[in-house]
Every structure is written in C-alpha cells, then in structure tokens.
C-alpha cells in the first residue's frame, strides 16, 4: 500500500522504532520528504523507541514463550527437519539473505546495526535453533537473578555485558544478534501470532540493544517505585539517553527531513539533542489579523502572596486558596469554556479535593460545570464530550487537565471551547527519577547541555503545548494565564515560543489576580466585537497568493533566526 500512496500519515513510531519501521516503512523511497509535525516531543519519542523495560511478568512470559518454541522445534524436527537445516545454512551465509526479503530493503528493519549485520554472519553458537533457545534461557535466568535486588542499581551497557558474560556465558556478539536470530527462527517456525511472543521479543530487543551500544544507555534496576516504597515491583530498565540514535537512520536514509511544531523553542536546542546540522532553521511569526491572544504571567494572588507549584510551596494552603480564587474569579468573567492544566494527576487530585473541602469548588460550580481528565481514557473522552456539550448549550464549563497528558497533546480547545487556559504551575518532570537523572548526566557530558537548562526547556515546552490548545485560527481568540511566580523570571519565560512571547507585554509579566481579572475583562470586551476580516487596516485574515509573495520579502528581515 505504501508504494502506491502519495501521502502517508502515521505515528512517529512507525518510522523511529526499529522494531516496527522494518515492517512498515521499508518501501519508502529515498526521495520521500519526511515531515515530523508537532515534533516538540520528538526527542522523547526517540528515546522511548530505543528503551526497554523488563519486569517480572516479562520474564515469566518469556519463559512460557521459550517452552512453546521448544515444543514447536521438536515438532518440526519430527516432521520437517529440512526446514531447520535450510535455515541453519542460510544463517551460515549471513543474516542478510534470511527470509524472502530482497537484500537492499532489508537494512532498515534493524537500523541500529545496519553495517555490521551485512558483513557478519550469525555467531556459530546460536545458529542451531535449540542452541539459541538455550542461550535465551540462560539470559532470562540471569535477568531474573538481577531483578532480585533490594537496592537501586545503575550500570552502563559495557559493564552489564561483561557481567552477563561471566555469569551466563553469553558474549557481546551473541547478544547483538539475538533480535535477528529470533526473527529468523519465528519465520522458520511459521509463528504468526507475534503478540503472544511479545515477551521473548522484548528480551531479545534488550539483548540486541545492550550488545550493540556501548554508550548512550544505562541499565537501571529499581526494586520499587520511589513514590510507593511499600509495593514491591522490581523493574530492569534499559534506558536510552541519546535521542539522536533512533533518528539517525531517518536522516541517513531520506533526502529531506522536516521537523516542525508550534512549540519548538528554543529552536537551537533541537539540533543539539538530535545531533544533526539543520540546512535551514526558521522561526515564523504568526500573521494575525488582530491581537487575538493575550498571554499573562500571574505571580501573586489578590492578597499579594506569591503563587507557585514549587515543591515547598505547592501544599501551602494560601497557594491552594489563591489558585482557587483565581479560577473562581475568572469563571465569573470569562464566557463559555475554560481549560486548566495542572502539573500532575496527583497534584490535581489533591488541589481539587482541597478546593472541595474549603468550598471554593462549590462556588466555582455556580458559574460553570466542572469536567476532569482522569487516567481512564474512556472516562476522559466522555468528560470532554460533555464539556463540549456544556459549551455548546451556553452553560459554560471548566475542564481540568494535566500537562503531558493525552488531552494536552491531542485535543483542541478552540473557539468557545476555550476562551481562557490557565497553567497552574511549571510542569517540571519528577526530578528524582533515576532515569531522568541518568539522562541529564549524559546530556551534560555529551552535549554540554546543563541540567537546569534541559529541565526548564522541557517544562516550558509542555506549558506552551498546554496553552497553545486555546487557539487554532485567526478568527479565534483566547487568553493564557501562566500562574506561577517562576514564569516571571527571564530564564524561564524566554524559553516560551516566539508567537507567545511577542504577545506577552511587559505590563503583563507580574500580575496579581485582580489585575489579571481587569485585563481579562478588557480583552474579552475588545475581542467579542465583530471585526473586519477583509483587512481594512492592511492585515487580511485570508491571504491570497500575492499577499504571501509580498510578505515573503518582508519576512526575510523579520526572521528571528
């Protein structure tokens, strides 16, 4: 199908994840233009694509898979021994010719090790099917042993491979070929139900990645989640720190790759994270007909006390109350829909409960209905549907949502579905996470990106993503409130995308609730007027080709980078 299509739209993972890209994207031509849209999170997708986590369930499942495969092999030995022998012979010649795939199209299926795989043959000790199963069994046993730990352990791939070699007798080269060897075996055994064998595939992914890369990864074993130490849930995670590893094959393979999003900011950080040299790097301003967005930074409540979700302040009752009053006051002046973003589910849960206890929630509900994003997708979808209904019928509603959540990524709150978005706090990642710490360390050592810079960049792109939901077209209008005193600092604020910054006036940088309320009233009154779309004042809403060409000359000067 892909060969006949002019335009193919799919999820990033189909191109970035080596496990899947091989099946789906192998027929793409070199001349294809690859566009990563909404690419503000592309580094995280790359990292996820090359990360593997192994839990107890995985290992148990892998054992079951191995037993099943052994039975299959026995069956084949009895009925069709020639098949296994043919596979063996093919493996001697080299993995590249396996299956019926043509030689040249094959390499993307495992972009992690394209060169080696073509040159080398599969090591002798795993060419026979039953030998390979033995190796895997030893590997699973070794991993089980590693999971039985009481402490958090962190290791580099090199040390881990050495340890496997001494304890399980599997060398690095063998590990490296696990993924392809398993693939070949499954083809030979005619296993079609790949979902059932997901677990052993995970183990082989893990083995191949560990065997291939000597840097950019770390293996972290945690006996329990730090936030819930009473529940034992050991996990062994192979975590990738280098986003450039997954995207490199895409850059190598395709002639033109475009990375674009409304919130790529600061734009110069992306080439560093993904380790490439952009041919063209441009930041475009928006051609608005009127000043239809109104960003504000709210640093204080009406009582002049600072508001923030900083760790030491977030549970402060004064802050909780000030946030509540802010929403309450806004609910009384803003028509139709309001969207609120919180830094995490647990924070949202906590603050909604305390608003309920001190009666603010009830007051808010006198103005608008409240709907909330939960971790249950069905529930959230229905809540969104009802939210829209409430906005449509004029009752008005508030939607509580979470930064980094699904709603923040995928749902538009344009027009009357969102006249105001409030970002409560700065959505920093959970900084005590071992994986994040390891990644920060790697970024500092390899790309000279400071920890603080990266964390701020990451938090601000999420915040920008959240508030950007509110506007979708020039005919639309909406307000954005960044409710945290930390947004008024230049190092934070300056990382917001240009189209927000250009509308953020100096007078709106350090507001209290009552001042913000005043600005909101003014703004809404101005925006609700009918306006001249044809552009009497020289700015048109719908540009013709001539207009665009004319702008082209001007834009070269306006360009920010």
């Amino acid at each position: 199908m892909v060969q006949f299509a002019n335009v193919v739209v799919y999820s990033y993972q189909y191109l970035l994840d080596p496990k899947v890209a091989g099946y789906i994207s192998k027929e793409m031509q070199k001349e294809s233009v690859v566009v990563f849209d909404e690419a503000h999170n592309i580094d995280n997708v790359c990292i996820e694509a090359l990360s593997v986590s192994v839990r107890r369930q995985t290992l148990e499942g892998a054992r079951r898979n191995l037993n099943k495969m052994r039975q299959e092999i026995e069956k084949f030995k009895a009925t069709d021994a020639g098949r296994l022998r043919a596979e063996y012979n093919r493996l001697v010649e080299g993995l590249a010719q396996r299956g019926n795939l043509p030689f040249t199209d094959n390499w993307l299926s495992n972009p992690a090790l394209p060169d080696d795989i073509l040159k080398e043959a599969v090591p002798g000790n795993i060419r026979r099917a039953e030998h390979f199963l033995h190796v895997l069994r030893r590997l699973v046993q070794y991993l089980e042993g590693r999971l039985e730990t009481d402490n958090v352990e962190k290791e580099g791939p090199v040390g881990f491979v050495a340890s496997i070699n001494t304890h399980a007798g599997i060398d690095q080269k063998t590990l490296k070929f696990c993924y392809d060897r398993l693939h070949s075996l499954m083809l030979t055994l005619e296993i079609t139900d790949t979902d059932e064998f997901l677990h052993i595939q995970t183990i082989c992914d893990f083995a191949t990645l560990v065997g291939t890369y000597t840097r950019g990864f770390s293996i972290i074993i945690e006996p329990f989640d730090e936030r819930m130490p009473h529940i034992p849930d050991p996990v062994l995670q192979l975590s990738c720190h280098d986003a450039s590893l997954a995207i490199k094959p895409v850059f190598d393979r395709f002639q033109s790759v475009v990375i674009t999003s409304g919130t790529l900011s600061p734009i110069d950080l992306y080439p560093r994270l993904l380790n490439f040299h952009p041919v063209v790097s441009r930041s475009f301003t928006m051609s608005l007909t009127r000043d239809c967005i109104c960003p504000m930074v709210l640093t204080r409540g009406s009582d002049q006390l600072p508001v923030s979700t900083k760790f030491d302040m977030r549970s402060d009752l004064g802050v909780v109350r000030n946030y509540g009053r802010l929403l309450l006051e806004m609910a009384s002046v803003v028509p139709d829909g309001i969207v609120c973003f919180f830094v995490s589910y647990s924070y949202m849960d906590g603050i909604v409960n305390s608003w309920n206890e001190n009666g603010i929630l009830k007051e808010i509900m006198q103005h608008k209905l409240v709907f909330i994003e939960t971790q249950d997708v069905v529930e959230t979808t229905l809540a969104l549907d009802n939210y829209r209904k409430a906005c449509d019928c004029g009752r008005g509603a508030i939607f509580f949502s979470v930064a980094r959540g699904k709603v923040a990524e995928g749902i538009d709150f344009d027009r009357h579905y969102g006249r105001l978005v409030i970002m409560f706090g700065v959505p920093f990642q959970y900084t005590l996470s071992k994986i994040l710490l390891a990644r920060l360390e790697y970024l500092r050592d390899t790309f000279q990106i400071k920890e603080g810079d990266f964390l701020t960049f990451d938090a601000l792109r999420q915040a920008a993503q959240c508030v950007g939901r509110v506007i979708r077209s020039k005919a639309d209008y909406g307000m954005m409130i960044f409710a945290d005193k930390r947004y008024s600092r230049h190092d934070k604020r300056s990382k917001l995308p240009g189209w927000i910054l250009s509308h953020l006036r100096d007078a709106h940088l350090n507001l209290s609730t009552d001042m913000a309320l005043h600005i909101a009233r003014e703004f809404l009154r101005k925006m609700a007027q009918p306006y001249d779309r044809a552009g009497g004042s020289g700015r048109k809403t719908l540009l013709s080709q001539e207009d665009v060409e004319k702008m082209g000359d001007g834009i070269l000067n306006e360009m920010q980078y």
Binding site: D17, N44, Q237, Y345, V377, V378, R395, I411, I435
Partner: protein, 569 residues
C-alpha cells in the same frame, strides 16, 4: 429584487382553511398574476399593486403553513400558500418593496397612511386603531394584551412611541424581544422545567453533632431523586430491594453508610465491609451500569475527541515497550481499585447528569414513583444522534480563518471606553483645581516671583539652610492642596456615581438621562440581535437602529453643555 420579478409555485386560496388551487404566482414591479395549473380553473388573478392595501403572513416555526395574505383596498383578500417559508420570505420582501413604491405614489393623493422608507413598518398615528400591514397574523387577544401592557407601563409606552412610531423598529421587532412579557402574562405556555443545581454532590454532606460518634445525613425527596439520577446502580438496587427485601429506611441507611465509608477514603475498610455485606458492596463498587453506558456513549462522541480510538496507534505504552517508570509518568495504586471510585469521577458524572437535565416530571414525594419514572425515561433512546455526530464532525474540521470571509455587511459602532471619559474628567478637574490653587497662592507676576526666589536664595546664601528646609505645616498644606482634590474626585466619579452625581443633577436632566439610557439599552438589544447580518432586511434594521443611537449622542452632548452652564452660573 426590487426590479425584475418573482415567480413561485403557490396555491391560491379564498380562505386560510380551504384546499386551494395549485398554480404559479408571478409578481412584477406593479402587478400580481396567478395562473392556475389547470387552465380551465376560474381562479385566475391579474391585479395591480395599487389595489393592494397591505399584507400579512404566517410566522415561521408556527403550526400554520406558509401563507401570504394580501388584503385589497376595496375589501376582500387573496391568500397564497407557498411550498416553504423561504419562498414566502422572498415574496413577502418583494411585496413589501412593491407596496412602498405604489404607496409613495398613493400618498400624494390620499395622505392617510404613512409608510416607512423600507416598506417594513406602516403605522398610523392613533394607536387604538393601529393596523399592522407588516404584522404576522397575530390573534386579537395578543393585540389586546400588548395594548394593555403599554397602558400599564409608561416606560414601555415611551419606548414604543419613540421607536415604533418613529419608524426605527417595527411593531413585531419591538415585541419580539418582549416575548416573555407577553407569555408570562397570558400564562398559556408551559413552565420551564427547572434543571439540576450544578453542585449537587457537594450538597450531600454528613453532619456530626460533635459529642457522639453519630453522623447525620439529611435526606429530602429532591436529594433522593438526585442520587437516583447520579447513580444508576443505586437506582436499580432500590427498584430491586425496596420494599420486598428491606424497608426504604434501611436502604438509605445502608447507602449512606457506604457513602460515609467512601468519604473516609479508607479503601481497605470499605473492602472489608463490602466482603461482609453483599448489599453494601453494591454501593461501594464501581457502577457497572455506568460502565456499560460509557461503552455505548463512546461510540457516539465526536471523533475529534475520541482518544480511545487513538490508543491503538500508541503501542509504545503497551507493557514492555519504552520506559516503564520515569518521572513523567504517573503511578496508581492497583489494590482495592474497585472500591476507589474517585471524587473526580463523581464530578464528571455529575456534570453529565446536570447537562442531561431533569428527565421526569412527577411529584418527588414518593421515592418509589420517582424511581420508576426514572427507569422509564432511561429506556427512551435518542435516534438522531448519528446525524448530530456528523454535524459535529463537519463543524470541528472547518477552519474558520480558511473560509472565505462571509460577506455579511458590517455596521461598526462607535464604542468608547467609559474609563476614558472618567480619566479625562479627572484630568480636567485636577487641572482646574491646580489652576485654582495657583491663583489662590501666587497671584504674583513672574517678576515678583523671580524676585522672591532671588531673595530667598540670597537669604540662604547668607544664613545657610534652616533646619527643616520647608516648614512641616507648609509642606502638608501644599501636599493636601495638590492631592486631595484628585483623590476625592476619583473616589466620587468611580464609586458612587449614582448618588453623588446623578442626584446632584436637576430632576428633569436626571430623568432625561435615564430615559436616554433605557432607549440605548433597547436599541443595543436590537442591534446585537440582528447579527450576523444575513439579509438586506437585517441590514436595513441595523442601520436604522444605529442611526437612532447616533442621534442620541449629540443630545447627550447638548445636555452636558447645558448642565455645565447651569453649574457655572
């Protein structure tokens, strides 16, 4: 349309009830012709507009078919029934224009009817015998009611006189915004059903008396109904168990026991209780009816919102893929999950119920009947959901700014920020006072002032600076003189405008102002209600209204000037 002609399919009738003759209606600038489909039929018409006195038509949305009634000068009338209201609208506009023209010609002769320029409004000077050529067929009862209302309410009468008789609004436009007044008085329309309060679940809260461990819940029929609506499982349990298995009192006791356990957020205790008592468990578990309903509803939601459908794409979050435990992901406690219905879920559910509104219309006294009525209303399902869904998709996928601009004409208003006025007044006043105080204090010529300055400088040179450079009393006096007026006027202008300013005006001026204020309010209501301007009729209305408003402003200015003169005298 004014030039040219209109041809529409229509039925000619002699009375509104009759069957009518199907045929074709053709209207040119000064003639109306009707040709029946059956050429042998006798009902052929060919008259000039001159002989038409006025017309009426039926309202869109009423039960009547689209009828146009043309009344003749010499008595009698022609009634045409159109295929749809759109045709009727077109013909009505045409007839209106044609009548204006022939009316203008006729005016020279008779002069007894005054017709508005657009032909929309025709009114005579005597209100009790008003004829409404433009009027949509209204009953005589309604007419009486209108007259009665006008008589009773002098303010309304003033407005009516000003706008309707002043040809700014038509009779029907004027009353259209006061439908409620008419309905409320006649009392014929059914009352609006009261919806749920937005904060239902928050109202059901336990009370403790502080001394004993007793917890009290107050229960009213209204609350019972709300609980049934919010929680279908409780509703079902009530229908099943009461009164066969337990009394109503026991039922509610048990329910609130469960609620209380839940409110203590002790999932473990709840689980333990539920294990002992099967009926209690119903209240604590997740509502399976809701879960089923959710599965059904999810099929009807707007596809642009459907995140469940996207889940298949997102295989990265399946187990074993990607990073399992990093800082950005959240964690849940999976134990006792089914007893951990969260407050957030309750809020969502309640929003949904509030939106659905009250579905039953029975007395709330007996919970049993309420429960049964509710069960019945749940079974009625909605059919046109599919169409609605399609409509929503097309609405969501349309990008507003990529559409060609709608060619709706625009009638810009001159909107001024009231603060500008106050600020300018403030400035003026403070200027005045400053000027005044300067006059007061230094009625000196510049030479004298210079001399005084030189004098004091030489004095300082000779004696050095005295300890307080300026004496405190003088400093306070100057400061007060400069600031007091500013702050006091600001205070008065900003806050007690009603008391301090309006009451200080002469009574006639005050009444005049209030009258202008009411007029503007009325006009603004009409102005905004005609947006978006889709027809030429609306445009004409908006321009009329706007002109009327702009006339009021100079009047206000005049009042302002007069007032100033009076005050200064």
């Amino acid at each position: 349309m004014a030039s040219g002609h209109v041809i529409k399919r229509a039925k000619y009738k002699t009375s509104p009830k009759g069957a009518g003759t199907p045929g074709v209606l053709k209207m040119t600038e000064n003639k109306i012709m009707f040709k029946p489909n059956d050429p042998t039929s006798a009902s052929k018409i060919d008259v000039e507009f001159r002989s038409i006195k006025g017309y009426k038509n039926t309202k869109e949305g009423s039960n009547n078919p689209p009828l146009l009634n043309l009344s003749l000068e010499q008595g009698g009338s022609y009634i045409f029934e159109f295929e749809n209201f759109l045709d009727l609208q077109v013909c009505r506009e045409f007839v209106g224009n044609a009548l204006t023209k022939s009316g203008d010609a006729a005016k020279a002769k008779s002069g007894d009817t005054a017709k508005a320029k657009s032909g929309e409004a025709v009114a005579t000077s005597d209100r009790s015998t008003v004829t409404y050529p433009d009027e949509q067929l209204i009953s005589s009862a309604e007419m009486e009611l209108r007259i009665k209302l006008l008589r009773e309410n002098s303010e309304l009468q003033n407005l009516h006189k000003k706008f309707v008789l002043g040809n700014i609004l038509t009779e029907s436009e004027f009353w259209a915004t006061r439908k409620k007044l008419l309905d409320g008085d006649s009392g014929t329309k059914s009352k609006q059903r009261v919806g749920f309060k937005s904060s239902m679940i928050l109202d059901i809260k336990p009370m403790t008396d502080g001394r004993t461990n007793k917890v009290t819940f107050n229960l009213t029929p209204e609350i019972k109904y709300q609980i049934f609506a919010l929680k279908p499982a409780v509703h079902r349990a009530f229908l099943n168990h009461v009164p066969n298995k337990m009394t109503e009192k026991d039922f509610w006791t048990k329910y609130f026991r469960a609620e209380y356990l839940h409110s203590t957020k002790n999932a473990v205790a709840a689980a333990a209780e539920a294990a002992e008592d099967e009926e209690l468990a119903i209240f604590l578990k997740d509502d399976d009816i809701l879960a089923n309903a959710a599965r059904q509803k999810i099929r009807r939601v707007d596809p642009t919102l459907d995140m469940e459908a996207d889940q298949g794409d997102d295989y990265m979050h399946l187990p074993d893929h990607g990073i399992f435990r990093d800082g950005s992901k959240e964690i849940t406690d999976s134990q006792h999950e089914q007893f951990k219905r969260t407050f957030l879920q309750d809020l969502n559910r309640q929003g949904e119920v509030v939106l659905e509104g009250r579905t039953i219309d029975v007395e709330l006294e007996d919970p049993r009947t309420v429960a049964e009525a509710l069960a019945q209303s749940r079974q009625e399902s909605d059919e046109n959901a599919k169409q609605e869904r399609l409509d929503r998709i097309s609405r969501m996928t349309e990008m507003e700014d990529l559409q060609a601009p709608h060619d709706h004409p625009l009638a810009p208003l001159c909107i001024k920020d009231p603060r500008d006025y106050f600020d300018s007044q403030l400035l003026k006043i403070s200027d005045d006072t400053r000027a005044g105080s300067e006059q007061l204090r230094c009625s000196l010529s510049s030479e004298e002032a210079y001399g005084s300055l030189r004098g004091s400088i030489s004095e300082i040179k000779a004696m050095g600076l005295s300890d307080p450079v300026v004496r405190p009393e003088v400093a306070v006096m100057v400061l007060n003189g400069l600031t007091q007026n500013i702050s006091s006027t600001k205070f008065q202008l900003g806050k007690n405008a009603q008391e301090s300013i309006l009451n200080s005006l002469p009574n006639t001026t005050k009444e005049e102002l209030l009258h202008h204020w009411i007029s503007i309010q009325e006009l603004l209501r009409h102005f905004w209600s005609s947006y978006p301007i889709t027809t030429s009729y609306l445009y004409a209305k908006v321009s009329r209204v706007k002109d009327a408003m702009s006339k009021i402003y100079p009047q206000l200015e005049v009042t302002n000037v007069l007032l100033r003169k009076n005050i200064s005298m």
